[in-house]
């Protein structure tokens, strides 16, 4: 009898912990969030998400994903977002994805050895979707940083670009430098 009560209590406690930590939202509820209004004195950053390297590697691209690639390769156009105190590159990406209803999947900082969030896919375009060397990378003010995206704290006026690489970063690096000299 004592044993039964004890097990029941343990099960109840586990259930209570699980239920208190589960937060269910419907799809509409989740996307209800609006962009914070940009005031004159608010600090802002810019964010772009592009995947134009995919067009050079169409043969490697997963057939099912093709439908979801925008024609110009721009998933999110350059937009200004309000920078809250201590926001990292990841925070801005997450907020932007939510405001613009873009699908995004990440692996949390506590789940991997690098201690930073890893972006697995944006807009159904995932790592390895376009060959074995493909994945998402980011650039702040035209430079690829040696930080995880949730470890880099942004400053006012920073310009973030998320880029999809099909060749471990070589292709995007070439392309970005080429663009710079052109300008």
């Amino acid at each position: 009898m004592k044993k039964k009560i004890l097990t029941a209590a343990v099960v109840l406690a586990i259930l209570a912990v699980v239920i208190s930590n589960v937060h269910i939202q419907s799809v509409d509820e989740y996307y209800l969030e609006h962009a914070e209004d940009i005031k004159e004195d608010s600090e802002t950053v810019y964010l772009t998400i592009r995947c134009d390297t995919v067009f050079d590697n169409m043969d490697k691209l997963d057939d099912n994903v093709k439908k979801y690639i925008p024609d110009d390769g721009i998933i999110l156009e350059k937009t200004e977002y309000v920078l809250r105190n201590g926001d990292t590159v990841f925070d801005i990406l997450q907020r932007a994805a939510r405001i613009n209803k873009v699908q995004m999947e990440y692996e949390g900082a506590d789940n991997n050895v690098y201690g930073t969030v890893y972006i697995e896919g944006i807009n159904y375009l995932y790592e390895f979707s376009c060959g074995e060397l493909s994945g998402w990378m980011y650039m702040v003010n035209g430079e690829f940083l040696r930080y995880g995206c949730s470890n880099y704290i942004l400053k006012d006026g920073d310009e973030i670009v998320w880029l999809y690489t099909c060749n471990l970063g070589e292709d995007v690096k070439e392309k970005e430098q080429f663009n710079e000299t052109e300008e």
Partner: protein, 297 residues
Amino acid sequence: MKQKNEIFATYHPVGLFLYFISVILITMFSTNPVMLSIALIFGMLFILVITDLKKFLKGLAVEIPFILVITVTNPLFSHNGVTVLFFLNGNPVTLEAILYGMDIGVMIFAVIYWCKAYNAIIDDEKFIYIFGKTIPKLSLVMSMALKYVPMLKRQYMVMNDARKCMGCCNEDTLLDRVKNKLTVFSMLVTWSFETSLDTAVSMKVKGYGLKGRTHFHNFRFGYRDAILIIITVIMDVVVLWGMTTGVTDFKFYPEILKNKVTVSVMTVYVSFAILMSIPAFIEIKEKIKWKYYVEKI
């Protein structure tokens, strides 16, 4: 030794081994839900035919919750998919992820059933017959390792009963019981060392693995074995062709697209179904024959 009633077990080991290896490997490496369902249905059918219903249902009671757990777990870790059902702690739970979880559950389920079938059909004798000549040491170790846990379990019961019979175990308190278990366990370890040494010495004395040594066996390679091997190889080639050229590819992410029903896809499915149905077909045919003969008497 347990007497085998399965007619499929009387086939030649080489054909049986080839059959099971190809079936299990194909099931393991495919994600196509149609193929996995075929594998699961025929695997279950075969197990149902060779075991009694009660045991079968008992197994099912353990395995169905297992599938459900896998189905529920996948969407917690995979958020890809177009059809978002709801958001859980800020992450989407999608229909595609749930279906993919179910698919993986079915795959594991099917592999478990085919491994059960393998265990029922291929025993130590067959295994040693196939590999005893080419890799004698490894096959002996494998066959010893595979029977190790059941053997220890059996011996544990025997030792425990013997001690109880002698009346030398006081089971009043938890401490006593633990002490008893520890004693039996230490006996068990010693005994298993001794047995494995005995086995090794005995095999050496018998000249196991020496050149020119033959094994006694009752296996005969007949017409039906040749037919089994030929069918297995042909169906394997068709199915593997389908899997490598991407005919049977089935993608869950980001959206499940209905595969077009083409001749090549149907060919692969039908040949896979033929491959999977062989053991169940043979067993059922034999049962019907047996019943018919009994009625005639």
